[in-house]
Amino acid sequence: VSSEDVPVSIGEAARRLAAGELSSAELVEVCLDVADRTEPTLGAFTARFDDSALAAARESDGRRQSGTARGPLDGIPVGVKDILTTREGPTRAQSLTPHPVPIEAEGDAVRRLRAAGAVIVGKLSTMEYAVGVTDETKPFPLPTNPIDPHRWAGGSSSGSASAVAVGSVLGAVGTDTAASIRMPAAFCGIAGLKPTYGSVPRSGCLPLSPTLDHVGPMARTAADCALLLAVMSGIELQPGKLGGARIGYDSLSGRGDRDPAVDTAFATALERLRAHGALLQPVELPHYDAVTAAAETILYVESFAIHRRNLAEHWSDYSRNTRRRLSLGALISSAEYVDALCVRRAGMSAVARLFESVDLVVTPTAGAPAPLLSSLRDAGPMIGSASTLYTAYWNAAGNPAASVPMGTSGGLPLGLQIVGRWQCDAAVLVAAAAFA
């Protein structure tokens, strides 16, 4: 098995494993070989667990030979964003500071993947504490884009997206508080899902903004995300179909710096959805700007609450952008925080009413492809300073939201965001899989 022979998806790998065409040990070895070749420029891993991964792969092969394989994830190499704990190694969250809050040794999402036979091959790079941007002055991997090493992989689930894209893992666990699964998925040309709020346990995850934090799957295909989500959430996913689905679309144009290629790709995406039998209708996301502002306000306040003692004691150990961003919460009053919670609640009501007339909503994931790494050096503390994103609205609303590839701009991937009703994650992934 050569490194060019990495299965294109978890689904394909599972089929080859089941057919005896490939062993898990061979699969893990080939993924580690890809990591060896790509890591010097990609910066996707913060830690690798080669020995324990190969041992786990051999155990998986033993189960398959004895007819006790645990399902489609048994023997599949996956990586975990380095703000979630795993029993194999330390969780540093790309930071030199001590953790701001204690966390348990391994959370339910990782534990469930392991119990399903998934092979944990390493921890994947993030932005410090899942916030901020790249910092070349700190001793951590600099996550670059697999398409163009001068560009960002996106963040904060940076390594989760880039490792999946190059095939050094077939699936990954990410987290998303404002964009952090969907934005890197879009920038690296893979699929990622921010599930319904609370549907995947956040135990073992360093919190950033507890009422906005989501743990979710990232993979090359939406179907693979469904396989990962079913295990991570422990929820049986109900099947659905794209044909006949009522899809509301909002291009969200006119907000931030917009690459014209996004509008072209979005129009093409709508035509593809229509060709699959979806019933399209234009919609306006209710109170979009107000709810997005509420999400950002909530993120600043909650993340400051978590980090304020650490900031006081370890200010200079944080990356420059991280400490500035985290400290913005000090500038927001408790009354303004309550205002934000109320706007969010009213926005959720309006979104629920919108979903009485449509089954899904689609928008672009971002207004432009991956930015140059050099442009991030001057990024300001505000969340939107690094890129134009259309994602935080759905962290406030809590609805499941996926990003899947929808064309390119200058060869760089763009993302289509597909959103569903609360607890209808399967409908989102079915549509996303059909779209691909």
Partner: protein
Amino acid sequence: MTPDAVEVTRAFAAHDLSVPADDLDAISAAVPGVRALGEQMRTMPSWSAAHQFDAPAARTVDRQVRR
């Protein structure tokens, strides 16, 4: 010191935070942006109704969550 820098310094002092000058400058420059978030939130037409948690619209959310 600019008025925004004074505001940042006061807010940080309430949390026992004292920061270097370059950080203070960068954070102070973000104050208008943070202020704009509050203004953006107030663009919601139902701004005052948003504070009424028992409004029928809020109950719609509860139905969705329970489904």
